[in-house]
Amino acid sequence: MLKPVDYLSPTTIDELLRLIELHRDKDYKVLAGGTDLIVRMKEKIEKPDFLIDLSHVEELARIEERANMIYLGAMVTCAHIISSKLLSQSAAILVAACQRLGSPQIRSRATLGGNIANASPAGDTVPPLLALDASLELQSPSRSRTVALESFFRGPGETILDPDELIIAIQFSKPTPDEKGFFLKLGQRSAMSISKISVAGQLHLNMGRTAWIRIAYGAVASTPIRAHAVEDFLRGKSLTPAIITEAAEIAQQTVSPITDIRSTESYRRKMSSILLRRGLEGLMAAAAPPGARSS
């Protein structure tokens, strides 16, 4: 049973920050879609006395393009992302991850801010956002700052957020049309499944060589991670089958998975190779000129 809680629902960011200031010493939680928080309250892991609901703060629910940057309010939901034309054109890997997150009901509630703040190693939106080199706009009553998403996580459920600090927005440079990406995920079942492992990649090919590439994994370490060693290896190389195989080998060395109720350490390690290889091969197959595919 849920314990009864008080409930506040600000409508602007200013009001929100004032409320947080006011209740600074009290036991409160901010409520986004509630798909993680309510579960944790039911399991009595969280026992806040009251909730500050972000869902009426309209400013937090915007998807915008600002000077070649994509700007996503923290309260943007997965369903919103999936239906955004802007994002399906420019950030397909984020859309793909949102399509695989939970179920239609969950996707209507689950927010980007919640998925990031929850800091699960398996949070599905994080690998694509890492691959897009996203940064977070954080704000508390006393300060605001922008941090790279990669430096945000400390461990499972742990972040650099101050107790009174919020994620306001997520932003990343708008990918150019010639960038390509992939998102792959394995779960215990086909839908409504927490990832056993996920991988996202975003790259820019120049004359058949990778000008740059960013690869990120979920559920293979205590936080979502960037696979820098793999990225360094691939930079400047053309993605031949041999190079892809070698990159996949390196990937195994960069991850540090564990065995838990969903999968095993060794399976996750192997899949970090397989999924990366498949992701890269998929890109190459899609990039190949017509007629070259069957070879």
């Binding site: 109720i261 899949m271 397989i274």
Partner: protein, 752 residues
């Protein structure tokens, strides 16, 4: 009954619309004035002595109406279908984490929950018995005083030693199965009410057998069973887990002590840890055959982990043994099983009832045998297939209908089977395609020596409609419309002209439990007798009143000079205070043999299932692609219902093969809800899931019906595992075949 109007037609279920609209009120939806909330204090340890229980602080909490412990149980402090070894409220010892130690009733649910936390129980933890093998050692801690062996059963036919010497090929393999959760949607919930004036305790709580609940409650409360009313229908799913008592006795006790309606609805987690599961078993199978594929000898040894209490652990073991040889003639068999107490939760009835486990082991062994002998797997099965009036592999005469041969022939001729090698070419490594087959023989009914009957009465109402009084419950399987279809056939009237009762001990005769795939068969027999008697009664009464010989025909009574509609006759009877009614009572036939403890059975349904899979040999992921189920259920009273059972059973059995497993550690559940215990979704279901029904008319049922609730979730599991082998040449002998397990095995065998 060759020409039928209702039987054999896909008539819509009478409960379909209101269920689709969410209007059905299950027992856990009921609300009464002045209702209190009940809660159950479960054991803090999987195995411990109870030193002291102090409820004083809990009792003092404002809003708490009563706190009950074992001292408040007026009658026998125990329940259990076969032997009542499970305490209603534990007294000196707890044996699994679902054991109940105390009950609370309070004005609100949150007060009741708070009150639970104030009950002080001092325990002295005991070593946890986890391994069923070790449980049998003389040094093992005892779960029960008299030792950890619940039952040992041995069945024999011929001379198994001799049989193996006659065999050219002998295969031997060890198999193991997991603890499996039924995952019904409606957790255990309901309301108890005590009416002081009449002395009647009413318990509204979904279960599979209201009439046995009534007796078990009466025994625990030392109450007259006639003063206990149980309403247990409709049920929001059970799959065997609500055959045993769940919370009914708690409801009755709390209602009695508070004199108020008391409601309990278990949380998913409490439900998960407390109700029975499907038994994990270890099976050692040895099978011998001649070069030409004649099965000669079968030796099966089963070790079944029954958990903390008996419940149906004995009968489940016995059915696993009886089902082990499958639908085949085998001259020499030796089947030995042991069911063992541990602190691993508790196991009991679950769809398939033991046959699930032994069919999985036998059908993979057969597949291996076919490969060894270079015989097509279906041909090998056909060569040995059981026919009516054969002696079974446990040496009893099968005098009832046997349609397994026909199911195998349809499988053999199916597109899915015929194209299996051609379709392999559509897939490129690391993706592989394979097809597998398996068959099963499922015993129906409770078996030799166990009371197994159904009573039904049918009354003519004053408006000329019929009231069918029967006691079986609706559990989601759709039997109610089948009862009406069968009655309508005999009474020659529309289904709309009938009403029926279900699952209410005060409304009808006892029609038996809804278990063992048997309600259509038994109730069908009883209602046939009732309907025939009623028709005679109608004709007699009409002839008396009219003064000429009247015959019943299509809701009219027709004489040489007159015709009266049924509703007029009903009016006449009513005005004279006459209740026109027919009763039928049917007792299940039994086998000529008696092996004790319910063995053997005498009526069987059969199934052959073909499954294709697509295996990703790099990730170990298996997608079940197409499934063809070919059940022999006797006459399919409602073919749509049979298809429904098959489609659902396939998904459940697929998940048993590939996905689900209850994880325990030192007697505690690591998976206790649906976020940790993962169920398949619609997206995981096979792409095609077809049913072709074989109808071997059953001579002991007037409609030719048998049953088809369990088999579809049984053979599908080995069919899928055989398909995986066909795809990648790797066999797994312990389920579920998770990607982790399959990939490790692929790598071990370096097959790919």
């Amino acid at each position: 009954m060759s020409q039928t109007r209702f039987v054999g037609k896909p008539i819509a279920r009478i409960d379909a619309l209101e269920k689709a609209l969410g209007k059905t009120r299950f027992m856990s939806d009921l609300v009464f004035p002045n209702m209190l909330w009940g809660k159950v204090l479960r054991a803090a340890y999987p195995h411990a002595r109870i030193c002291r229980i102090d409820t004083s602080r809990s009792e003092q909490l404002p809003g708490v109406r009563c706190v009950l412990t074992h001292r408040h149980v007026m009658g026998l402090n125990g329940f259990g279908i076969v032997k009542p070894d499970q305490p209603v409220l534990c007294h000196d010892k707890v044996r699994y984490v679902g054991d109940a130690v105390a009950l609370v009733a309070a004005e609100t649910e949150s007060i009741a929950e708070e009150a639970l936390g104030l009950i002080q129980v001092d325990y002295d933890p005991l070593p946890v018995v986890e391994d069923p093998e070790e449980a049998l050692s003389e040094y093992a801690p005892k779960v029960h005083e008299q030792g950890n062996l619940l039952l040992r059963t041995k069945l024999q036919k011929g001379d198994v030693k001799q049989g193996f010497t006659e065999a050219d090929v002998t295969l031997e393999q060890r198999y193991s199965t997991q603890l499996f959760e039924h995952a019904f949607l409606e957790t255990e919930g309901g309301i108890g009410i005590y009416d002081e004036e009449s002395g009647v305790i009413t318990v509204y709580c979904g279960s599979q057998y209201a009439f046995r609940d009534q007796l078990q409650i009466a025994r625990a409360l030392d109450w007259d069973p006639k003063k206990i009313r149980v309403c247990s229908s409709p049920v929001g799913g059970a799959f065997g887990a609500k055959d045993e008592i769940t919370i009914q006795i708690y409801l009755a006790l709390l209602a009695y002590y508070t004199r108020c309606p008391v409601k309990i609805v278990l949380s998913r987690e409490e439900s998960f840890i407390s109700h029975v599961k499907r038994h994990p078993m270890r099976l050692d199978v040895r099978l011998g055959a001649t070069k030409v594929g004649e099965l000669k000898a079968l030796d099966v040894r089963i070790l079944s982990d029954t958990g903390a209490y008996a419940s149906l652990g004995g009968p489940v073991l016995n059915l696993a043994l009886e089902g082990a040889p499958g639908p085949y003639r085998i001259p020499h068999t030796h089947l030995l099983g042991r069911a063992v107490y541990t602190n691993n939760g508790m196991s009991g009835a679950c769809r398939g009832f033991g046959a699930t486990q032994s069919c999985f082991a036998m059908e993979i062994t057969l597949d291996m045998m076919a490969e060894q002998l270079r015989i097509d797997p279906i041909e090998l099965r056909l060569k040995n297939v059981l026919r009516r009036n054969d002696l079974s592999a446990i040496d009893h005469l099968i005098f009832t209908s046997v349609g397994i041969e026909e199911t195998l022939k349809i499988a053999r001729d199916s597109e899915l089977w015929r194209t299996r090698d051609i379709r392999k070419r559509d897939f490129q490594p690391p993706i592989f395609y394979g097809v597998g087959v398996a068959s099963e023989m499922q015993a129906l009914g409770l078996g030799k020596g166990i009371p197994d009957f159904a009573g039904v009465s049918i009354e003519l109402d004053r408006d000329g409609s019929f009231l069918l009084r029967q006691g079986c419950i609706e559990i989601g399987q759709g039997n109610l419309v089948c009862f009406l279809q069968m009655a309508a056939e005999v009474l020659q009237c529309d289904i709309e002209r009938m009403r029926l009762t279900h699952g209410d001990t005060f409304a009808s005769p006892d029609s038996g439990s809804v278990t063992a795939s048997k309600s259509i068969y038994l109730v069908g027999n009883a209602l046939y007798l009732a309907a025939k008697t009623l028709l005679q009664e109608l004709e007699r009464f009409a002839s008396e009143t009219i003064g000429e010989p009247m015959r019943y025909q299509e809701c009219e009574l027709v004489g040489p000079s007159r015709r009266i509609p049924l509703h007029e006759l009903a009016q006449t009877a009513h005005s004279q205070g006459r209740q026109l009614k027919g009763e039928g009572h049917f007792v299940h036939p039994t086998s000529d043999k008696d092996y004790g403890d319910g063995l053997p059975h005498c009526l069987y349904s059969f199934i052959t299932q073909v499954a294709s899979v697509v295996v990703d040999a790099e990730t170990g992921m298996v997608k079940v692609h197409d499934v063809l189920s070919i059940p022999d259920c006797g006459r399919a009273i409602n073919p749509q219902g049979v298809e429904g059972q098959c489609e659902g059973g396939v998904v459940m059995g697929m998940s048993y093969a590939l996905l689900e497993k209850v994880e325990l550690q030192h007697g505690r559940f690591l998976t206790d809800n649906f976020s940790t215990y993962t169920l398949p979704t619609a997206a995981d279901a096979p792409l095609t899931n077809k049913t072709v029904i074989v109808e071997s008319m059953e001579p002991t049922n007037p409609f030719g019906a048998k049953g088809m609730a369990e088999p579809p979730n049984v053979a599908i599991c080995p069919a899928i595992l055989n398909a995986i082998y066909d795809a990648i040449g790797v066999r797994i002998f312990d389920i579920p075949v998770t990607p982790e397990k399959l990939l490790a095995e692929i790598e071990r065998q370096r097959k790919i």
